[in-house]
């Protein structure tokens, strides 16, 4: 994709702290960055290395050289199953999120080529209701996995999620079972499944497909865990150690295979595919 398209798409998105104009302030080092530079650099701050969150589509663009289809199952859309309401109606939250992101729900399942290798990528979008997993995320993940099995090509998921979507109540919990079963069906079919964890990967997503990859890769400094740090602090009544639940911490504890930065992610995945499906 050309840089101009990339920028157009970027500007079209309403959130992500992009102020009017073409400058953005780095969250970490506070330097002012020219958006063009940021985009050329895979949304990594050229001064301090801070990684800005990527949208589901930007992620696909960063990993695929040829995109056959950005969203194989784009017809699948969410519904308010139980008429859920908290301070807002779920229906309204969905509409807002759809307008904000231009997506139907928090995941797209893309099909394309990484260099010469055909793959499926299930890419989550944190901007859509915190990347929460409800029926649509579950259904599209499963269809993507079955598509990979049918085509006998590797399956990659890129998680970015606060966990299960509470607004779908028990049905969102069951998506953990549904997606985990899909992973097992790939296991039995001999399909490579690489799980990429990005900031954040928590709760019901972490405790289902995200931690079931044949290979688990995390982006640097991402928050990854089952329980949220605040819940843990409240439970144990003590402060959490520095770096707790971050990618580097998980690597040290033996919970993931590697921490790979954005610039090396595609090459790493491609090499793994060659090693396993070569």
């Amino acid at each position: 994709m050309g840089l101009k398209d990339f920028i157009d798409k970027f500007k079209g998105r309403k959130k992500l702290k992009i102020e009017e104009g073409s400058w953005i302030k780095c969250e970490k080092c506070k330097s002012l960055l020219f958006i063009d530079d940021l985009l050329k650099n895979l949304k990594i701050c050229p001064h301090c290395g801070y990684t800005f969150r990527m949208s589901a589509k930007e992620r696909v663009d960063s990993l695929l050289d040829t995109v056959y289809n950005y969203d194989l199952f784009s017809k699948i859309k969410p519904v308010d199953i139980i008429g859920f309401k908290d301070t807002k109606r779920y229906k309204d939250r969905l509409k807002e999120a759809q307008e904000k992101t231009g997506l139907n729900d928090a995941i797209i399942v893309a099909h394309g080529k990484m260099f010469d290798k055909e793959v499926v990528i299930a890419s989550m979008d944190f901007n859509f209701m915190g990347g929460s997993m409800g029926s649509v995320v579950g259904a599209k993940f499963v269809r993507g996995a079955e598509f990979a099995i049918e085509k006998r090509i590797p399956f990659i998921s890129v998680a970015a999620s606060g966990g299960a979507r509470m607004q779908e109540s028990i049905i969102s919990l069951m998506q953990m079972a549904k997606t985990s079963i899909a992973v097992d069906r790939m296991n039995k079919a001999g399909i490579l499944y690489i799980s990429v964890l990005t900031d954040p990967t928590m709760g019901g997503v972490s405790a289902s497909f995200a931690f079931l990859g044949d290979i688990i890769i995390a982006e640097p400094e991402s928050l990854i865990g089952f329980a949220g740090p605040r819940v843990i602090e409240q439970t144990i009544r003590q402060q959490l150690p520095e770096g707790f639940q971050r990618s580097e911490f998980l690597l040290e504890k033996g919970q993931i295979d590697m921490v790979v930065d954005r610039k090396n992610l595609k090459k790493t995945i491609y090499t793994l595919i060659k090693h396993t499906h070569g």
Partner: protein, 314 residues
């Protein structure tokens, strides 16, 4: 909950009078019958008008039968198995072999503990990764020896702690879910009290999912939901209502297969009766999973969970 107090008082009074009748004071029989009638009327009235929040209280009632009670009263020759062979024995999950109505089975269940000391030992039924890894180990034994797995779900959730995260709480839960999903032996799960989120589902991927009438099963506790979505702890009763967490709700949503009736007023009032009812329910539901070709059993289980979820497609 004044009604609750009156029901409890009546229940206690009836028990005392019954004892006296047994010891020879036969003139009290009429009194017992009268009280019993009143008890039934009140209890029924109460059960019909229970809010979701009331059921949360019943599900967490301190006298409600736990996994251990069901093991002791429904099974024989229970042999408990300990440890995950990697780190520790997590007492928040009990697992082992036993006989159910003369047939060998494997049992896995959360146990909250009864008195303070035991509650602490069992971490209030909140497992660490070791608990789930022990469960997985026993599931595989069940598969190896072709024994059905019977699980009992009763947990506020998996434990949120430093050690739990360090040792892979997410991975342990995910693996337990995945293992159950394709286990080549029948699985019957029963939510007996609190079905708290992923920590509950880790024992809940079954061919038949039963739920006691006053049990709850939810993606998040009403308190947690209130704090996050309603931004106020006082909204927990409202959150409980909106989340649709009762057995009736879950049956209507097609998530559970069978509601196990409880004695009037709740399982804790007449545990003996509860054991009889659950025994029958387990027997009937186990029967439905028996003598199936194992490929078909697993395929049906996959299909069952694949069908969970609602969306539009156009």
């Amino acid at each position: 909950m004044d009604l609750d107090k009156e029901i409890q008082a009546l229940n206690d009074q009836i028990a005392i009078l019954r004892e006296r009748v047994k010891k020879g004071e036969h003139q009290l029989i009429n009194e017992v019958v009268k009280l019993r009638k009143r008890f039934k009327k009140l209890a029924k009235e109460k059960m019909e008008s229970l809010s979701a929040w009331d059921r949360v209280q019943l599900a967490r009632h301190p006298k409600r039968p736990h996994t251990i009670d069901y093991i002791n009263n429904l099974f024989t020759d229970f042999i408990e198995l300990h440890g995950d062979r990697r780190f520790a024995d997590d007492k928040a999950i009990i697992a082992g072999f036993a006989n159910f109505e003369g047939k060998p089975v494997c049992i896995i269940g959360h146990e909250k503990g009864r008195d303070t000391k035991e509650k602490i030992e069992r971490n209030f039924g909140m497992p660490h990764p070791e608990g789930y890894r022990k469960a997985i180990r026993v599931m595989k034994l069940a598969e190896k020896f072709k024994r059905p797995v019977i699980t009992f779900i009763d947990t506020p959730g998996a434990y949120p702690g430093i050690g739990a995260e360090e040792r892979g709480q997410s991975q342990a839960i995910a693996e337990s879910i995945m293992t159950m999903g394709s286990l080549r032996t029948p699985i019957v799960a029963t939510v007996i009290g609190e079905g708290g989120s992923g920590g509950a589902l880790a024992l809940g991927v079954a061919d038949r999912i039963l739920m006691l009438e006053n049990a709850i099963y939810s993606v998040i506790s009403p308190e947690g939901c209130a704090a996050i979505l309603f931004k106020s702890a006082e909204s927990a009763p409202q959150a409980a209502e909106n989340l649709k967490i009762t057995a009736k709700n879950l049956f209507e949503l097609g998530i559970i297969d069978y509601i196990v009736k409880e004695p009037l007023g709740g399982a804790h009032l007449q545990p003996e009766k509860m054991y009889r009812i659950l025994r029958r329910a387990l027997r009937d539901n186990l029967k439905l999973t028996e003598n199936k070709n194992l490929d078909k059993l697993v395929e049906d289980r996959h299909r069952k969970f694949y069908s969970m979820g609602r969306f539009i497609e156009k």
